[in-house]
Symmetry: C2
Subunit: 180 residues, 2 copies
């Protein structure tokens, strides 16, 4: 029987983009903002800092991002009962493809290439669950959406929120019991 599918975002869900942008911000402007200052947005939504976002187009940007704590262990556990698909909106960033592919091979070698998807608009994805930090992706999703906490989604209340991978584990333990 087919396992239920989980569509799993990369950036800010299994890969932590935040530390790199904080460092780039400090390098460019000489100070480091408190996350409260851009609550509901990204660090480069602060006035006059939009150019920082261009770093996303550079080769290497996605190559060395830290892995979100506990994500490797929990993903591996979930694979017993769920089909995990990595679904990342890489298509905006031509330079990111090989970096993202290599990053996954390095940190999530147990995920087969058949289960990796580089896309743009995620409304074309069919799965039972989606874990994502962008409400726009969860809004067009027909399954159960989990909102992974990030600065730009604080205050959103339309979706079940997970703050970290320990909470992701707990959510799916509950789902397993419900489905059993």
């Amino acid at each position: 029987m087919q396992k239920p599918r989980i569509a799993l975002d990369m950036d800010e869900v299994i890969a932590d983009v935040q530390p790199k942008f904080e460092a780039l911000f400090e390098e460019a402007f000489g100070w480091r903002p408190d996350p409260e200052q851009y609550r509901g947005g990204k660090i480069y939504d602060l006035p006059g800092t939009q150019k920082l976002r261009e770093a996303l187009h550079l080769k290497g940007f996605f190559a060395d991002l830290p892995v979100m704590p506990d994500s490797q262990a929990v993903v591996r556990e979930l694979m017993a009962d769920f089909d995990i698909y990595i679904v990342t909106a890489a298509m905006e960033f031509r330079a990111s493809f090989e970096d993202k592919y290599d990053w996954l091979a390095q940190h999530f070698p147990f995920i087969h290439w058949k289960n990796i998807i580089f896309c743009g608009d995620k409304s074309v994805i069919r799965a039972e669950y989606m874990i994502d930090d962008h409400v726009r992706n969860l809004r067009t999703f027909q399954g159960k959406g989990l909102l992974y906490t990030a600065s730009h989604n604080l205050g959103e209340e339309a979706f079940t929120r997970v703050n970290n991978w320990v909470e992701v584990r707990a959510f799916f333990e509950e789902e397993r019991r419900r489905l059993a």
Copy 2:
């Protein structure tokens, strides 16, 4: 209102892989087989020629493939009534990502990056139609599958067959009338 979605494969549907493999075959073995000799398979299914397939992993392989006749014009026409998503199983070939992206930008510049998907297993794709040359992709698809004729699918009868883009156009003209 949302338009019906068409998931459109690249290789052997809008990009013609066949001439390059025929040339590689002739270069390696000094003769050119008649397509009848590998009917139901690929050219590199001929005994002793499997190594040819490794060319798919080379940088540049997908960069200069010829465009399937009429595909550009028909895709552009279809965009009036359908959302077109390019869905290609690129993930097996790390070296293909940038080549495929550039090929699309060159030959199908009217397709937005949001509508491009590099994947592996296509069972995770949600759309109303899929045009593909592999029955394995159509079998797991929940919408209407169209089988685009290629040597390896000759003899398959489980799906509506399209032999060229003029037939694709005709199929969707009929669908438009049916849906109107």
